[in-house]
């Protein structure tokens, strides 16, 4: 957001309020500075898209972009929880297994026990929440590294998945309420209504915040950065809906993902709890001395992580119409962690945003999707994804060093 200069009165007691002059360059820097790492990732996405588009003209087709968005919902939802854990400077290795277990709990309750689909989904998410809560408690109460607690969790919940699935090893889900989550597409008209509602809501949020700041005499009264933000977001929304409408329409799954990203971003950036998450991630000792219940924050964050993993598992089961012994396995865990890190959330805690869950999933999803289109084999896919992760972390580390030297100079 914008910055407020503090009146500087070096030695004397008088503090004359001087408004700094804002030139255009400063204005641009202000726009870019807040989301510098996001801008970098978006540039990376553009490069990836161009490379694949040159090789295979179907990559940027509406059809494929819709597919891509559906492919990243599971990983994106799991990453939302992972962002919270990363903000604490911790790690949760159990999210893959928990997502598989969550999906299985839902399907078993719905198919084998005939539960109402919404109740089954709620039970799945509650399972994830309970698991996360337990792991968070063990980690914070007994000061065991989160790495170890959740590694034990990974094995335990994988076993639980096999147990829940029983002899068959695979269960199909047919309930339309559940499969609809990933397979409902809205009509063109509904799509545009959604777009208008989103844009108007965003404009209101920006406008109200801006008016409050100006009324309070904070920041400069130049609305240009806000207008710039608004135009960019509005353009993205309109473009996205146009693309979805050119194919099958706006998918419910994407709305669910966006809803969680926006909601959890709101929590982490604007609420007291979110502030405390950042504080514990920055310095748990400072947070403790400030009277923050550090262990409470930790348990809450791991609960969120477990819940989001289960939500991702529900989404995966809905999209694949089934759960099996492999659900939540393979590279899902590692990609869900790699995504936010690629997009700029620090592994060391205290820096990042929930948007990185979406951006990171987009980067990973694009690479995977593009290489599938090109018919490349798995070994190549893994190595390329690994290379991108390494590159992203290196770029981030270099940027951080530069920022620090400049900041201290």
């Amino acid at each position: 957001m914008s910055t407020t200069p503090v009146p500087t009165a070096p030695q004397s007691g008088d503090d004359t309020e001087e408004k700094p002059k804002l030139d255009v360059r400063q204005q641009i820097r202000r726009i870019v500075q807040g989301d510098l790492s996001s801008v970098r990732v978006i540039l990376g996405l553009v490069v990836i898209a161009l490379i694949f588009q040159v090789q295979e003209s179907r990559f940027l087709s509406a059809q494929n972009l819709t597919n891509l968005m559906l492919q990243i919902t599971t990983i994106g939802l799991i990453s939302v929880g992972i962002v919270y854990v990363l903000l604490l400077g911790e790690i949760d290795l159990s999210v893959g297994a928990v997502s598989g277990l969550g999906g299985a709990v839902m399907v078993v309750l719905n198919v084998k026990h005939g539960w109402n689909p919404y109740l089954a989904i709620a039970a799945a998410v509650a399972t994830g929440a309970a698991i996360g809560c337990a792991q968070g408690f063990l980690f914070s109460r007994f000061v065991v590294p989160s790495f170890v607690v959740t590694l034990a969790g990974l094995l335990t919940w994988q076993g639980a998945l096999l147990q829940v699935l029983g002899q068959t090893g695979s269960l199909n889900v047919t309930d339309p309420k559940i499969t609809g989550l990933a397979n409902i597409f809205y009509s063109n008209t509904t799509g545009w209504i959604i777009a208008v509602v989103c844009i108007v809501a965003y404009g209101l949020v920006l406008g109200i915040g801006y008016r409050r700041r100006v009324a309070a005499g904070l920041g400069d009264s130049n609305p240009l950065p806000q207008i710039f933000r608004f135009v960019v977001i509005a353009a993205i929304v309109i473009g996205a809906v146009a693309i979805f409408n050119a194919s099958r329409g706006v998918p419910l799954a994407v709305l669910i993902l966006l809803g969680f990203v926006i909601g959890m971003e709101y929590v982490v950036q604007t609420t007291t709890f979110g502030r405390h998450v950042f504080a514990v991630g920055g310095s748990d000792e400072a947070a403790r001395r400030a009277g923050i219940r550090v262990n409470g924050v930790r348990v809450a964050v791991f609960t969120i992580s477990g819940s989001m993993a289960a939500v991702g598992g529900v989404m995966a089961a809905s999209r694949l119409f089934a759960v099996n012994q492999n659900s939540g396995g393979n590279e899902l865990l590692l990609l869900a962690i790699a995504g936010p890190v690629i997009a700029g959330t620090s592994l060391f805690g205290g820096r990042g945003s929930v948007w990185t869950a979406l951006l990171g999933a987009l980067v990973i999803g694009s690479i995977s999707n593009g290489m599938d289109l090109l018919g490349l084999a798995s070994p190549i896919k893994y190595m390329v994804t690994g290379g991108v992760l390494l590159l992203a972390v290196l770029v981030d580390a270099v940027a951080k060093q530069q920022r620090q030297t400049r900041g201290r100079a």
Binding site: A9, A216, R275, A286, G291
Partner: protein, 276 residues
């Protein structure tokens, strides 16, 4: 409370850690609008004394009076509630958060209306209050929204001191506020301490740096091996006297003479000084 009565007064404070006498019948006082330098060699009991006042350790014996009333301080919250704030040497700041967030950490302002449900932060109000506070103290930082990690050591110290003032304390204790700071930064921090005095706060400064102590303190209180070994008016004592009281070496008669002269003003310190 009579005008010349100390704001905070400790009498006969003792603290033992096993066989070690960390503090032995120490009398200490700080008045409103007064800066007291607390000096002494490593292990002299400075930190223990501060921790007793801050409620981290309780004293084994002795009484604490605050604004003339006898009080008991058993936990940090007790001290905070009385109006005693402490800034420790490690500052306890979150480097990844900006100045406003650090100032209000743990006591954030919240929005009314629908934001109550999510305990939404009132950033505008916090930024306003932070701006007022920092400009009143003439604290020099580049921006309220700079990350604390990018600030210089002196600026960080000033932010930490400013944060301690948000609870409107009457006594502020600073642990080595100028350690590891450069000359201009030290000057900034000392300037801030003087402004705390102007605001009528009682300030206790622990320091190893006698130059800084003489620059900013009204009174210098010396601890040696857990006992008070001197209590001087800063304007009426030389550095040699203070060093002699700290080390216990050299001619201590000078220090005693100073104490005798000050007896009227600092009767408690004088008694300890003669024992030492």
């Amino acid at each position: 409370m009579s005008p010349d009565q100390p704001l905070l007064q400790l009498e006969g404070i003792s603290k033992h850690f096993g066989p070690v006498h960390a503090l032995d019948r120490v009398d200490f006082a700080v008045s409103a609008g007064e800066v007291v330098g607390l000096v002494g060699d490593n292990g002299a009991g400075k930190s223990t004394l501060v921790k007793v006042i801050a409620g981290i350790n309780s004293a084994d014996s002795g009484t604490i009076r605050y604004e003339g009333e006898e009080v008991s301080i058993h936990k940090p919250q007790d001290a905070t509630n009385l109006g005693i704030a402490t800034v420790y040497q490690d500052l306890a700041l979150c480097d990844n958060l900006d100045v406003v967030a650090n100032l209000f950490l743990g006591s954030e302002e919240r929005l009314g209306g629908p934001g109550v449900l999510t305990r939404q932060l009132d950033e505008v109000d916090m930024e306003n209050r932070a701006g007022d506070l920092l400009s009143n103290l003439a604290v020099t930082i580049p921006s309220l929204r700079s990350e604390v990690g990018t600030l210089s050591g002196g600026q960080r110290q000033q932010v930490a001191v400013a944060r301690s003032l948000l609870g409107e304390p009457k006594v502020v204790m600073l642990d080595e506020p100028t350690a590891a700071l450069g000359v201009p930064q030290t000057k900034q921090v000392l300037g801030l301490i003087k402004r705390l005095r102007e605001r009528g706060l009682g300030v206790v400064v622990i320091s190893h740096n006698l130059v800084d102590v003489f620059e900013v303190c009204d009174r210098i209180f010396v601890l040696r091996l857990g006992r008070a070994s001197g209590d001087f008016a800063a304007t009426e004592v030389t550095e040699e006297h203070v060093v002699a009281a700290i080390t216990g070496l050299g001619n201590n008669a000078g220090a005693r003479a100073e104490v005798a002269e000050e007896k009227a003003e600092a009767a408690d310190g004088g008694a300890e000084g003669e024992k030492a």
